[in-house]
Amino acid sequence: MGIFIKLAWRNMFRNKRRTLLASLAIGVGLAALIFTDALVVGMEDNMIESATSTYLGEGEIHRAGYQETQKVEQTINNLDTVVSELKASPVVRAFTERLMSFGMVTSPSNVQSVSIVGIDPESEAQLSMVDEAITEGSYFTGSNPRNILIGDGLADILSVGLNDRIVVTLAEAHTGELVQEMFRISGIFRFGVKEMDRGMGFIRLPKARSMLGLPGAAHEIAIQFVAGEHIGRKKNAPFWTKFSQDGNLAEGWTELQPQLASMLQYTQFSTYLMGIILFGVVIFGIINTLFMSLHERMFEFGVLRAVGTRPFEMGKLIIYEAACLSVISILVGLILGYIITYIMTLTGINYTGIEFAGVTFRNMIYPVLRLRQFIEYPFWVFVFTTITGIYPAWYAAKMQPAEAMRKSF
């Protein structure tokens, strides 16, 4: 048996040009599979990050029902317990508390109804991009409780600029009485999302709590998980049930932003389909290459048969050859795939100038290399190449030596 493997291996190098051509064709196919997979992973990561890191977070906790009605009295139950449990949770990378209310902002020239959000500057900066989105002035520096950040769209509507004063009117949570306070615009942000730039103002959490009469309360906790866990996408993760107690509801971004989740699902299905088609094309290439390279050697096989090689051994030899060829091709493919993908991970692929928030969508997509890409795809290429070898093997095994040798003239 050993001799056939040896013979098959040696046959590879007898006609170097043929082997080179075949292994290049199959290898490029494998490299394409690896590259595409890496690209898809990179695209998905990019999309999820765009969706979650701007403001949303990978998950959020609210009082159950708050999302639908946004009633100001529906704050998170047992906030202290929730916060300490979040601190202890090993999967949570960062989280931040927010207190929100609809209110009115008045400038000397206009009035606009906006969503006023009380944030904790420190933890918010770790989680969302409010701090990065500041285009004028600065994110909360110092400790002035009367600082407010507004969007450039809102500044436009109100005809105000940096350091101007505006009046914020909110309704106290329990009594419904109106509370008015003067704020100084310390920063102007731009997310590039109209609704946010026009309809949001950020103030410090303690200030919001005192204005709304909700000491120590929060409506929302946004959470970012440790990298690679993708808990935001796993509806069944134990995290969600653990924090959906006492009348609270913890949800991942796929449920908070169903449109984005749909978009991702659509992308996933498309890439899945394209992946299958690509695999189909590669398989075609393998079948063809193998058939060609064996077909042109029928004369040689005829000779082998004529000198007494038994049909079964004949078939074995050809399958071994197919296997050897796939091993060489896989080596070529792995090296090619790694080099191409690695270069791309460094340079990135320029993706349309998506201005969708100078912050939100990054303009570059970086493919992501995963070990699995270098195990699964080579495995399938090996399997398919070897299986493809069965037909020529069977054909060569049952041929008449005399006829095979005559044919080639």
Binding site: L21, A32, T69, Q259, Q265, I277, V281, M292, F356
Partner: protein, 403 residues
């Protein structure tokens, strides 16, 4: 010479079939992927624009950037008539927007009042199918209202309840009136669900004292192609600088860019597929010519001139490529057509704007035929030039010695 090439093709049936298989397989697979990319893209956009935004919107100048109660389209009926006169326009619907405070018993909430023409709105955006409880507005104004489902919860209102609205009318007077809830809607957008208060357009015009005026016209075309051009045509036909006509790519920029990003990802994959097809063709053609060195040697020995051999090789490859493309085109058009009607079943259905998407569709677009055709034909021709030159330059004696 052409005859010889033709006969060569049939002489070695297996080799011909193999070569054709590569070209044909590559063609069909890349045609399907382009058909899918084009088809599913149009389908998603179609769903999106039919959901609530419309494909083209007409506003008073600058309304999109700075909406104001007073930026109305005055004589909207005649504007709409002009728009309908533009070829490709299929339907339109008017909308009036304003804000107010709505209350049911002791519950009060800020709402966005949206005045719609029930019949036209349903024609343009299939609004009737988005009613989750109760029924759709009746065509004539009967002081009826539909609430977004979040708003209904916020007001603890159900079908049959009476709501009171309080706001300011265009003439500065106080606008208030009573409307009976007939339906609860879900258009798949959380903000809209939480604030939308749909009235019959006429009711809304009466309430806000805007006789015969609207803020927005949405326009639907026969298909989603070249809507920017259509918007431009409408703008020119209207001859009214006070009106602004925008296609969805502009008023829904975020979505448009997300789609563009997605499409671009798909094109990268298509390029990879086309590249692999090209390499497959290259490999096949190269092999099938190289293995015939001996044959060319014989031809040369019999006195065939080098250029004739070159021509023969090119002819052969061309014939094979053309035949593969023809068969491939027939099959791929068939497949794209079939999946264009029946669709690919998704592994798991997803919800889009209150509609369940369970299938995605391919389409028979011109480029799903000509792009793969160009790829196959050109790669086979370019690729065959070098081996053809080699075959033409063969030294007969040496070539025939080889096996």
């Amino acid at each position: 010479m052409f005859k010889i090439a033709f006969r060569n093709i049939f002489r070695q049936k297996r080799r011909t079939i193999l070569t054709m298989l590569t070209m044909f397989g590559g063609f069909v697979l890349s045609a399907i992927s382009i058909g899918y990319a084009d088809g599913s893209y149009s389908y998603i956009i179609d769903l999106f624009t039919h959901n609530r935004l419309g494909q083209i919107q007409v506003h008073e100048d600058n309304y999109l950037d700075r909406p104001s109660l007073y930026k109305t389209i005055k004589d909207y009926q005649s504007v709409a008539d002009t728009v309908m006169g533009v070829p490709r326009v299929e339907s339109w619907a008017p909308r009036l927007y304003s804000a107010g405070l709505a209350s049911v018993d002791d519950q009060t909430a800020g709402v966005q009042v949206i005045g719609i023409d029930p019949e036209r709105e349903d024609q343009a955006t299939h609004f009737d199918s988005k009613v989750v409880e109760g029924r759709y507005l009746s065509p004539q104004p009967h002081h009826e209202v539909m609430l977004g489902k979040g708003l209904a919860k916020l007001l603890s209102a159900g079908v049959g309840d009476t709501t009171m609205i309080l706001s300011q009318a265009a003439d500065g007077s106080i606008a208030n009136d009573l409307y009976r809830v007939v339906g609860i809607t879900d258009r798949g957008d959380a903000t809209e669900n939480r604030t939308a208060y749909y009235l019959n357009l006429q009711d809304a015009q009466d309430l806000f004292v805007f006789p015969g005026q609207v803020h927005e016209l949405i326009v639907m075309a026969d298909n989603i192609h070249h809507l920017d051009r259509l918007a431009h045509t409408i703008q020119q036909t209207l001859r009214n600088d006070a009106l602004q006509v925008k296609p969805w790519m502009e008023f829904a920029r975020t979505f448009y860019q997300a789609m563009q990003a997605d499409l671009q990802g798909m094109w990268i994959m298509l390029l990879v597929i086309i590249l692999i097809v090209a390499i497959g063709v290259l490999n096949t053609v190269l092999m099938s010519i190289l293995e015939r060195t001996r044959e060319y040697g014989v031809l040369r020995a019999m006195g065939t001139r080098p250029f004739e051999i070159f021509r023969m090789v090119i002819y052969e490859v061309t014939v094979i490529a053309v035949v593969s493309i023809l068969i491939g085109a027939v099959l791929s058009i068939g497949i794209n057509y079939y999946f264009g009607i029946n669709g690919f079943a998704l592994s798991s259905a997803f919800e889009w704007g209150g509609m369940e998407v369970s299938h995605l569709y391919t389409t028979v677009s011109p480029r799903s035929v000509y792009l793969p055709a160009i790829t196959v034909l050109f790669t086979s021709l370019i690729v065959s030039v070098f081996p053809a030159i080699k075959a033409a330059r063969i030294a007969p004696a040496q070539a025939m010695r080889m096996h």
